[in-house]
Amino acid sequence: MSKEFTSESHLKAYNLSGSRSGQIVFSNISFTIREGQCLKIIGPNGSGKSTLLSILAGLIKPHSGNISRSPIETNSIRYSGHKSGLKDALTIKENINFWRKIYGCNSDSVEEVTTNLSLQNVLNTYTGLLSAGVKKRASLAIVTIGHAPIWILDEPYASLDKENIKLLDGLINIHLNKGGIVAFSSHQESQLPITTSIDMHQYTV
């Protein structure tokens, strides 16, 4: 499963400003991250971390400025936001299968994807019955489907205990070593090799 990402990847932002509900929350953010590099976004609540990550993921348009991303295909990005992206009415297996089909991924099986995040035991449990921590791990499992080079993670450590944080860090490190890119936000200290750090406080309007 140790495939290298074949093309070079990068994620660049130039003079980015973002708005939420009509108000500009940050401006003038610029950075470049290349393959194997990791971007961490820190800042108080409401400073626009989620807005910035949504812009990087292509979910919303920036107020001004632009981003450049390589590879360009929409299948090269995986996003994990505050909400789970899982249907409570379905089992974990059904949820993961749905996203496998959406991402057009036939290679990884559900078992492969879920074992990485210790979800083997809950595959056939209805998602609505599971705890926040388990649901978070399932959301992160979706990110690993199909080996996309760019991972955008909004508070990936939320609801995770120390063991699972280590598990996640392990997966992220493997991803970075293969030439992938990770941009994430967190309040906590991280053991990951951070290349660039953005403190939203500096860019608040």
């Binding site: 505050h82 909400k83 249907k87 379905l90 749905f98 089909k101 959406i102």
Partner: protein, 221 residues
């Protein structure tokens, strides 16, 4: 194409798991129609005369009911925003949602309509035009409904706003849907009216997915 089927599949599975919800809409349809004989009296001539209108108006209201949770569920649990960052085109998402909405609300209405035609003591030659009219009309109702649903995704008072916007747009389909049945009972051919309903279907198929995709995109900005 695959993605469309995947989404429809998932929605149908969830509808099946939440069978009660779909039955609720069908139940609303039947019960509301049944109220009318109590309200206006059981004289056969009277019911027969207004029956088509009763069934169609109730069908509109039942469709409106089922539109309420169409995108709001997906928005709430984050599947919508995840779909929007995925390689699936917004257009496909809208088409998939429209189809799964029609399969869970329009189709049951069509299947139940003969029952209601009999309950309102309408002549039996009206069953076929009722079914064909609903068959041609309910997909348009779903498509216009999707536009209303996506336009009001983050709006205040969505429950009141959505009907206010959608119902005026439903009026042409209502008029011709009822017309199909009424002209049959007057022994005229409803062929031309079917063509009109088909025309509405084609027009809304051209415009509504575009409008709904634009509305979806803008609700995340």
């Amino acid at each position: 194409m695959n993605a469309i089927l995947t989404i429809i599949n998932r929605d149908l599975r969830i509808s099946f798991l939440h069978r009660a919800d779909s039955l609720l809409v069908a139940g609303f349809f039947v019960i509301t129609v049944m109220l009318f004989p109590f309200g206006i009296g059981p004289e056969p001539g009277l019911l027969e005369r207004v029956g088509a209108g009763i069934i169609w108006v109730t069908a509109l209201l039942a469709t409106l009911l089922s539109l309420n949770h169409l995108f709001s569920e997906d928005e709430r649990d984050g599947t919508l925003e995840l779909l929007l960052t995925s390689p699936v085109e917004i257009y496909s998402i809208v088409i998939a949602k429209t189809l799964s909405h029609w399969l869970t609300s329009g189709l049951p209405l069509i299947i139940l309509s003969p029952l209601l035609v009999a309950a309102l003591q309408m002549p039996s030659n009206t069953i076929l035009p009722m079914i064909i009219g609903l068959l041609l009309g309910t997909p348009t109702l779903s498509m216009i409904g999707i536009v209303g649903s996506t336009l009001t995704l983050n709006a205040r008072l969505r429950g009141i706003l959505m009907p206010l916007i959608i119902l005026p747009l439903y009026i042409p389909i209502l008029i011709f849907g009822v017309g199909c049945v009424d002209v049959e009972s007057m022994n005229f051919s409803s062929d031309r009216l079917y063509m009109v309903l088909l025309g509405f279907l084609i027009i809304s198929f051209t415009l509504c997915p575009w409008a709904a995709s634009t509305a979806l995109k803008m609700s995340f900005e």
